[in-house]
């Protein structure tokens, strides 16, 4: 596994031009996640309206893998249902922890397939998961507070 396979052009592209970056209003929940071993930090907001994720906005400091992964994630989940986003999380996590043995369906995962190389670099798994873990956390909190309101 060469490092050039890790740094796919798609990843470098998202890293250089991050999609949906910047914190925006309105939002339902903001979460703050860190990766203590390298100090990566992510503030992420989600907004859910009419059963769909209407926006994901974020402010991130981190490596190319974590930033690009967050960027790709935001494109994949915006517009879908929270349930769909959580399913994507599960699939992505399974792949990234699969040590190269699990691959993603390109139709469903789009640019995220570029991260298959990351699964070969255990030390970078946390980087690739940072944005995904944050959005999952945020969505679960939105759901929990929705339940409480019932």
């Amino acid at each position: 596994m060469s490092v050039e396979q890790l740094y796919q052009e798609i990843i470098l592209d998202h890293y250089r031009v991050k999609r949906n970056a910047g914190l925006r209003d309105p939002y339902d929940i903001e979460v703050h996640h860190v990766n203590p071993s390298c100090g990566d930090e992510l503030s992420l907001r989600v907004s859910v309206a009419d059963g769909a994720i209407s926006d994901v906005s974020y402010d991130a400091i981190g490596c190319s893998i974590s930033q690009a992964s967050t960027s790709v994630m935001s494109e994949l989940v915006i517009g879908g249902t929270p349930q769909h986003a959580l399913e994507l999380y599960d699939g992505f996590q399974k792949m990234i922890q699969g040590q190269g043995k699990v691959s993603l369906n390109e139709e469903t995962f789009g640019d995220a397939v570029a991260f298959e190389g990351v699964a070969q670099f255990p030390a970078r798994v946390k980087c690739a998961m940072l944005g995904w873990a944050a959005v999952r956390d945020a969505l679960l909190r939105v759901q929990a507070s929705a339940k409480e309101e019932l």
């Binding site: 470098l12 390298c38 981190g62």
Partner: protein, 421 residues
């Protein structure tokens, strides 16, 4: 130096340095994190286990006597190595962090609200968090030295603010910064501490491996370092303390042979160093540390320091030629150890590390357990190359070449022009 420093001869003692990473030779520039081990150290540990292993102090049979002699012999060797006046001043811990926690727990025991503990913003977490926890327990206040723009301890600001004053009970700072490489004026700070009756603690984790050490010259009361950064094993650290001070401190961890008399209703405790060594100590690790100290002493700590100094000067000069590279801390090899932290514009340290790793070059990326310092310098994280007695000029050249390539790769220059340096 009477004789030229033969780095190739040194390298032959470190089998791991002959490793290759893919097509590249291993270029290990992460010695500030942990050093590599010469075969002499590994052999001493193996020989101990296979021929002399027993528990110490408690066992009076032949093996027990041999193991005890080996363990106490290591204590004597450490004492001599750092210029301690008695071997009873050397407490073995599991690492420098435990040594600093021991200092923080026992020194803070009598403190309360109104008392102050002083550290610096350039400390390793292991010299911050134990004092924060001590302040939480006791109500004492944590204060700290700032750093100047060029990464030195800001003594002037400290003076202006009255940082060290009659409320100060403990001052604890690093001898050599693990991020900036800065060598701090420890004896000067110790004099400031002593002038107000405070105890002076030194985190010498990066100092003892790099420089000849004399606890008397440093003027401190307690000093901590760790075995694995000075060619020794993991699992062992040292807290040195003035005997009188150690003798006045309460116990830290309880159990095993740190006692005098145990009754269910209360116990009394052994004199130093045993009072602070609860349970079976790191016996084989002490044997390994002893071998490490003999190894570096045979080469000469002054020559190791000189080698590092020369190489650091070269590295600083060459690295500053890399486009977008910014050195954190002193950019000249004056009062400076062999840790060089830097940022590369537009490339996150993780990515720098990964790219260099693919070329066999091992550096560290992150905040190097010194997040407050990174906050202070306004960088989220950094890269660090750190040298040691086995590092060569050729390795520095490979680092610089790798950094050039990395910068180009991520800025897209490479893709556009196809050219690396």
């Amino acid at each position: 130096m009477t004789e030229a420093y033969d780095v190739e001869a040194v390298r032959r003692d470190f089998p791991i340095l002959a490793r290759r990473v893919g097509a590249y030779p291993l270029t290990y520039l992460d010695s500030g994190n942990t050093s590599q081990k010469p075969a002499q150290v590994v052999d001493a540990i193996a020989d101990h286990y296979l021929a002399h292993n027993a528990n110490v102090a408690r066992a009076m049979h032949v093996l027990g006597a041999e193991a005890t002699a080996a363990f106490e012999g290591a204590r004597t060797a450490v004492a001599a190595f750092i210029g301690a006046s008695r071997s009873e001043e050397v407490v073995f811990t599991k690492n420098a962090s435990e040594a600093l926690n021991l200092a923080a727990h026992t020194l803070s025991a009598p403190l309360g609200p109104g008392d102050e503990i002083v550290v610096s913003v350039m400390e390793h977490h292991s010299n911050i968090v134990p004092w924060q926890l001590a302040c939480q327990r006791t109500g004492a206040t944590l204060r700290w030295f700032d750093v100047t723009e060029d990464g030195r301890l800001d003594l002037e600001a400290a003076d202006r603010e009255g940082l060290i004053n009659e409320r100060t009970k403990v001052v604890s700072i690093a001898w050599v910064s693990n991020v900036l490489g800065t060598i701090n004026p420890v004896s000067q700070v110790a004099a400031m501490a002593h002038a107000v009756g405070a105890v002076m603690v030194v985190d010498a984790s990066q100092g003892v491996p790099q420089l000849p050490t004399s606890v008397a010259d440093l003027g401190c009361d307690l000093l901590a370092f760790t075995g694995h950064k000075i060619c020794g094993p993991t699992g062992i650290g040292v807290l040195w303390g003035r005997y009188d001070l150690l003798d006045s401190l309460p116990p830290f961890l309880g159990g095993g042979e740190m006692i005098e008399v145990v009754r269910m209703t209360g116990s009394t405790f052994a004199p130093p160093p045993y009072r602070f060594e609860a349970g079976t100590p790191p016996i084989a690790q002490a044997v390994g540390l002893h071998a490490a100290i003999e190894y570096v002493s045979a080469i000469g700590m002054d020559r190791i320091a000189a080698h590092e100094q020369e190489l650091t000067a070269y590295a600083l000069a060459e690295m500053q030629k890399v486009r977008g590279l910014r050195i954190l801390g002193p950019t000249e090899a004056v009062d400076r150890g062999g840790a060089i932290s830097f940022t590369l514009e537009g490339v996150h340290p993780h990515d720098v590390m990964q790219m260099l790793d693919s070329r066999g070059i091992a550096i560290r990326g992150g905040h190097h357990c010194a997040r407050p310092l990174h906050d202070r310098l306004g960088v989220q994280s950094s890269c660090r190359a750190s040298l040691y007695l086995y590092t060569t000029y050729a390795e520095i050249d490979r680092l610089v070449e790798g950094l050039d390539y990395t910068g180009s790769f991520f800025s897209g220059r490479l893709a556009t022009t196809g050219g690396a340096r």
